[in-house]
C-alpha cells in the first residue's frame, strides 16, 4: 500500500545509496533502524526533547521532524562522527570531565546541538550557551554541568586557535 522510495543518504561522510524507505519514514528512524547508527536517540517524536538532534549541513535539527527523503543530497552528521581513531573529541571529554551526563540518553542530542552551535558561535558567552542548552531536555543533570562542559570546551578551542 505504501509506496517505496529508493534514496541515498550521506551520513558521517559515508554514502548509503540503496536505502528503500517510505516517504513517511523519519530521518531518525532510518539512521537508527536501517543504517544501524543507534547513537541518535528518540525521546518524544514531536520535536521538543531534542534527544534526536543531528547536524544537517552543519546545523542542528530534530531528526524526528525531518523525513529521511528530505535529507537526500545533504550532509548528515551524528554522534558517531565525533570520536576519531577511538579517541573522544574535546567536547566529549569535557562532558565526561564535568559529569555532564548521567544516564546518557539525552547526551548525543546535546553533543550535536553544541557542536553545531560552537561551529557557528565559537565565542559564545555562558549565558548564550545556557540559552542554546535550553533547546533540549535532560532529566538527570539539572543542566549546569552540561553548560559547564560546553563552556569549557569553547574556551579551550578559543585558546588553541
Amino acid at each position: 500500500m505504501t509506496e517505496k522510495l529508493l534514496i541515498s543518504l550521506t551520513v558521517n561522510g559515508r554514502t548509503h545509496d540503496d536505502l528503500v524507505i517510505e516517504s513517511r519514514h523519519t530521518l531518525v528512524d532510518v539512521l537508527r533502524h536501517q543504517i544501524g547508527l543507534t547513537g541518535t536517540h528518540v525521546g518524544c517524536e514531536h520535536g521538543v526533547c531534542g534527544a534526536c538532534t543531528v547536524l544537517l549541513d552543519g546545523a542542528p535539527v530534530r531528526a524526528c521532524l525531518v523525513f529521511a527523503a528530505q535529507a537526500e543530497g545533504r550532509d548528515v552528521r551524528t554522534v558517531e562522527s565525533l570520536a576519531s581513531d577511538g579517541e573522544m573529541n574535546d567536547l566529549q571529554r569535557a562532558f565526561s570531565a564535568h559529569h555532564g551526563l548521567q544516564c546518557g540518553f539525552c547526551t548525543p542530542g546535546f553533543l550535536m546541538l553544541a557542536e553545531g552551535f560552537l561551529a557557528e558561535r565559537p565565542d559564545a558567552t555562558r549565558e548564550e550557551i545556557r540559552e542554546v542548552v535550553s533547546s533540549n531536555l535532560c532529566r538527570c543533570t539539572g543542566y549546569q554541568t552540561i553548560v559547564d562542559a560546553i563552556e569549557d570546551c569553547a574556551r579551550a578551542r578559543e585558546e588553541s586557535r
Binding site: H41, H99, V147
Partner: protein, 786 residues
C-alpha cells in the same frame, strides 16, 4: 568496620560508563534488533471508566504489515497482584489484569496488543481497531472518590479507599492542641506528575530455544521482580525467564514497578512465536504509564510560646489512580508519609491518618522521594507559618526544634542515626547571608520588587533493609542484596550486584569500593548488573539503597575474596595467615617482604590446583550479602532558595540555590553532586512547572511536551552544593544514600521563598505547582499589575 576512604573511595574519578554513552555506543532497549522481530503497540481505552462491549480487530488484522492482534481472551495471563499483609480495614487488594478484560478504569488502559512487521504498520493497525464501551461516570479526584455515593472504581474497595491506616495516636493529643498558645494549620495539595525518564519504557522479548528460556530485555530498575511477575503471569518456572537489562535512560521510580505491557509483550512473543519489541511512545508514557505525587494534606501543628513544637496532627490522602503497583502496593505513599512526617524535628505528640484512594486515572508508582517532597514541604510550611504567628525568625524556630542528639528515637518509632541537621541549616543560612541576599531582599522590597528567601531542612531515610519494609507489612519484602566476586587469571575481578544503575554510575562507584578493598585499579573491576541468569538475586535500585546496601554487599564480597587470597598466599609463601597482607595487587609477607602477585595466585588457584592446601577449593570466588536490620541510615540536607517574582508575567525566577548535603562518606563526590543537582531540578519541576490534570471525563490534559512543561536550562539555575560528612556507622563504606535528597528538599525551599517574596501581600500559598497566574493574583491583591 574497615577502612572508609582509600585510594578510590572519596575520589571524583571519571565514570566507567562515559565513553560508550558519549560515542553513541550505549545499548538501550530500542537499539536491540533481532531477526524476525515484530513491533508491538497497544490498543488503549479511550474512556476513563466503563465496560468494554466489544473489541473489533478485524480491520486491524487487514492492515498490510500487521501480523497479529491479541486481547486478554487470546492470551492466558494471570493478573499482577500486589499485597500488604494487613487486615481488610487497612488494605484492599486490587488485582491488575495484564490486558483489561471487561472493565476499564483509566484512559490509556491496555486492551489489546497489535504486532506488525514494522513500527509504522503497527500504528496503522491501532488506528483501524474499533472498541465500543458502555461508559460509566468516572471518579476523577480524591474528593469525588471519597464523596458519599461515589461510583466505585473497584467493587471491593468501599468508598474507593485502598489503604487506611491510623498511627501513633499519642494519648491526650487533643488536649495538648486545644491548650497550646499557637496552633497553625497547613492544607496543601501537590499535583500529579510523571517521573519522566527521557527514555520511555520498552521491552524486547524473544524465546531462546537453545536455553529454553523467554529472554526479556527490558529497561527496569528491578530485574528479578520482573522475572517473578513474568513467570507467575505466564505460568513459567522462574528459571525459564531471563531478564536482561541494557543501558537505561533514567527511571526515577517509574521503572521500579512491573508494567503490564512488559508482561503482555512476553505473552505475545510466545503466542506469535517470534521476537517482539515494544517501545512506548511519549504520549503513552505521559498519560498511561505510571504517574506519581498527587496528594492532599491537612495538618495542624501546636507550638508553645517559644516556638517549640508540642504536637502534630495529620490527615493525608494519596490519589493512587486505578491500581496498586507491584511490589509496593498503593500503600507506598501513605505509609511513607505517615511514618516519616515528623522528619528532622522533635515531635512530642503525633497522630496521623494516611489513606490511599483509587480513582479513574493511570496508576502510580514510587517517584524519587516518595511522599517525602510533600511531607517536607508541609512541615517546612508549618514552621514558616508558626514563625509568622510568633514573630520569630524562620530559621531560629527550626533550630529550636531540630534533633541534635543521636541516635534519636522519634515519636514515629523510627531511630535516626547521627546526622548534621543543625550544622547543615547553619551553613546554608550563612552562605546566603555572606553573599548578601538578605540585604538584596531588603533593598528589593523598598523598591517595590519581590525577592524572597526560603529554606528547607530535612533528612532522608536511605538503605531500607528487610526490617524497615517488613514493618510496612509488604508481602514482598525488599531489603538485602547480594554480591558475587571472582578473580580471573589476569588478576582482575568481575563483581555481580543485585542493584540496577540507571544513571547513578554504579559501574564506577561500586568498582571504587571493590578496588580499595583489594588494591586494584578500578579498570580491573568489572561490575555486572541486570541479568537474572548471572545474578543470583537482587532487589534492584530504588529508595537510595544501592550505595548503602549494594555497596556494602560488594565490599563484603571483596573482603572475603581478599581473605581467600591471603590464605592461599600464606600457604604458598610458607608462612602463617597473620604474617601476610594485601599490598599493591600482591600478597606480601610482613616479615621478609616476599610476595606473590594476584596473577601468580590465580595461576595456582585455577591452573595448578595440585599446589593448593589440602582443604582448599580451586578457584578464586567469594560471595556476600548485606541487609540493614535497624531503621536504615538518614542522609540530611538544608536547601536555601532565593526567588524573584515578576509582576505582569507572574514568572518565578530562581536567583540563587544553595544545597548543603550530608550523605556520609561520598564515594564519588562529583557523582553525589550530580545526584543533588539533578534531584533539585526535579524538585523545582514539581514546585513550579509539571502537572498532569484531568477533565471531568477523566481525559488527561497532557499528551505531549507542549502541555507537560518540563523545565529546561532556562528555568533551572546553577546550584552550589556544599558537603558535610557524618559517616554511617554500619554501611561498609560509611556512605548513606544520595539519590533522592535533592528532589525531597527543593519544593519546600522554593515554596517558602515564594511565600517570603509574597510577604507584602499577606497571601500564603501551599499548593504545588505554583502557577504564574497564582502569583499574578497574589500580587494583584495589593494592586501590583503588569
Amino acid at each position: 568496620m574497615t577502612e572508609r576512604r582509600g585510594t578510590w573511595v572519596g575520589s571524583s574519578v571519571g565514570r566507567r560508563e562515559d565513553p560508550r554513552l558519549l560515542t553513541g555506543q550505549g545499548r538501550f532497549v530500542d537499539d536491540i534488533h533481532l531477526p524476525q522481530m515484530l513491533h508491538a503497540q497497544f490498543v488503549r481505552s479511550t474512556i476513563a471508566a466503563g465496560t468494554v462491549v466489544s473489541i473489533d480487530l478485524s480491520a486491524t488484522l487487514a492492515v498490510p504489515g500487521v501480523v497479529a492482534a491479541y486481547t486478554a481472551a487470546d492470551l492466558d495471563m494471570g493478573d499482577i497482584t500486589a499485597i500488604l499483609d494487613r487486615p481488610a480495614s487497612e488494605f484492599v487488594q486490587t488485582d491488575m489484569p495484564v490486558l483489561a478484560r471487561d472493565r476499564v478504569r483509566y484512559v490509556g488502559e491496555p486492551l489489546a496488543i497489535v504486532l506488525a512487521e514494522d513500527p509504522y504498520a503497527v500504528e496503522d493497525g491501532l488506528e483501524a481497531a474499533r472498541v465500543t464501551y458502555d461508559a460509566d461516570a468516572p471518579v476523577v479526584s480524591d474528593e469525588v472518590a471519597m464523596a458519599p455515593g461515589a461510583p466505585l472504581v473497584h467493587e471491593a474497595a468501599t468508598g474507593n479507599v485502598l489503604v487506611d491506616v491510623s498511627m501513633f495516636a499519642t494519648e491526650g493529643i487533643d488536649r495538648i492542641i486545644d491548650e497550646a498558645p499557637c496552633v497553625v494549620r497547613v492544607r496543601a495539595k501537590t499535583g500529579r506528575q510523571n517521573a519522566l525518564p527521557l527514555e520511555t519504557r520498552g521491552v524486547v522479548a524473544s524465546w531462546d530455544a537453545r536455553d529454553e528460556q523467554l529472554l526479556v530485555q527490558t529497561c527496569t530498575q528491578v530485574p528479578h521482580q520482573v522475572r517473578t511477575v513474568m513467570a507467575g503471569c505466564l505460568g513459567l518456572a522462574e528459571r525459564s525467564v531471563r531478564v536482561l537489562v541494557p543501558d537505561m535512560g533514567g527511571g526515577f521510580g517509574l521503572k521500579c514497578v512491573v508494567g503490564r505491557e512488559e508482561i503482555a509483550v512476553g505473552a505475545a512473543c510466545l503466542k506469535a512465536g517470534r521476537p517482539v519489541k515494544w517501545i512506548e511512545d511519549r504520549r503513552d508514557a505521559l498519560t498511561a504509564s505510571f504517574l506519581a505525587r498527587e496528594q492532599r494534606y491537612d495538618v495542624r501543628a501546636a507550638f508553645d510560646g517559644d516556638g517549640r513544637l508540642l504536637a502534630l496532627d495529620a490527615d493525608i490522602v494519596c490519589d493512587m489512580g486505578a491500581y496498586s503497583c507491584y511490589p509496593f502496593t498503593a500503600g507506598i505513599e501513605p505509609l511513607m508519609a505517615s511514618a516519616e512526617l515528623p522528619g528532622v524535628y522533635k515531635v512530642p505528640a503525633y497522630r496521623v491518618r494516611g489513606r490511599a484512594v483509587t480513582t479513574n486515572k493511570a496508576p502510580t508508582a514510587p517517584y524519587r522521594g516518595v511522599s517525602r517532597p510533600q511531607i517536607v514541604m508541609v512541615m517546612e510550611r508549618l514552621f514558616e507559618r508558626a514563625a509568622r504567628e510568633l514573630d520569630m525568625d524562620p530559621v531560629e524556630i527550626r533550630r529550636r526544634n531540630l534533633i541534635t542528639e543521636f541516635p534519636y528515637t522519634g515519636i514515629n518509632d523510627v531511630t535516626y542515626d547521627p546526622g548534621s541537621y543543625l550544622e547543615s541549616l547553619d551553613l546554608c543560612e550563612r552562605v546566603l547571608k555572606d553573599e548578601g541576599w538578605y540585604e538584596r531582599r531588603g533593598a528589593a522590597r523598598s523598591s517595590g520588587r519581590f525577592i524572597g528567601i526560603g529554606y528547607s531542612c530535612f533528612s532522608e531515610r536511605t538503605g531500607y533493609g528487610s526490617a524497615a519494609f517488613a514493618k510496612r507489612k509488604m508481602a514482598v519484602v525488599p531489603g538485602f542484596d547480594m554480591a558475587e566476586i571472582r578473580m580471573d587469571l589476569s588478576g582482575g575481578v568481575t563483581v555481580t550486584t543485585g542493584t540496577m544503575s540507571h544513571g547513578q554510575s554504579h559501574e564506577t562507584t561500586l568498582a571504587q569500593i571493590v578496588a580499595d578493598r583489594l588494591g586494584l585499579d578500578i579498570a580491573e573491576v568489572k561490575i555486572h548488573q541486570g541479568d537474572t541468569d548471572r545474578i543470583t538475586y537482587g532487589f534492584g535500585t530504588f529508595a537510595s539503597r544501592s550505595a548503602t546496601i549494594g555497596g556494602s554487599a560488594v565490599a563484603r564480597a571483596a573482603t572475603a575474596l581478599g581473605e581467600r587470597l591471603l590464605a592461599l598466599g600464606a600457604h604458598l609463601l610458607e608462612t602463617t595467615y597473620d604474617n601476610v597482607e594485601l599490598d599493591a595487587r600482591r600478597v606480601r609477607r610482613r616479615d621478609d617482604g616476599r610476595a606473590l602477585s594476584f596473577e601468580e595466585l590465580a595461576d595456582v588457584a585455577y591452573l595448578k590446583a595440585h599446589l593448593l592446601p589440602k582443604d582448599a577449593e580451586p578457584g578464586l570466588t567469594a560471595s556476600a550479602t548485606f541487609d540493614v536490620h535497624g531503621d536504615g541510615t538518614f542522609s540530611n540536607a538544608a536547601h536555601g532558595a532565593v526567588v524573584e517574582l515578576h509582576p505582569g508575567t507572574g514568572q518565578i525566577e530562581i536567583l540563587r540555590y544553595v544545597c548543603v548535603e550530608d550523605c556520609g562518606v561520598a564515594i564519588n563526590p562529583q557523582v553525589v553532586e550530580g545526584q543533588a543537582r539533578g534531584g533539585i531540578a526535579q524538585g523545582i519541576a514539581g514546585a513550579l512547572f509539571e502537572e498532569i490534570t484531568y477533565d471531568e471525563q477523566g481525559e488527561p490534559s497532557c499528551a505531549s511536551f507542549i502541555d507537560y512543561k518540563v523545565p529546561t536550562a532556562g528555568e533551572i539555575p546553577d546550584i552550589s552544593v556544599h558537603h558535610l560528612e557524618t559517616p554511617c556507622a554500619f554501611t561498609e563504606s560509611g556512605a548513606k544514600g544520595a539519590g533522592e535528597g535533592g528532589t525531597i528538599g527543593a519544593p519546600a525551599a522554593v515554596l517558602n521563598a515564594v511565600n517570603d517574596a509574597l510577604r507584602p501581600t499577606g497571601v500564603e500559598l501551599d499548593d504545588t505547582p505554583i502557577r504564574p497566574e497564582t502569583v499574578q493574583r497574589a500580587l494583584a491583591t495589593i494592586g501590583v499589575f503588569a
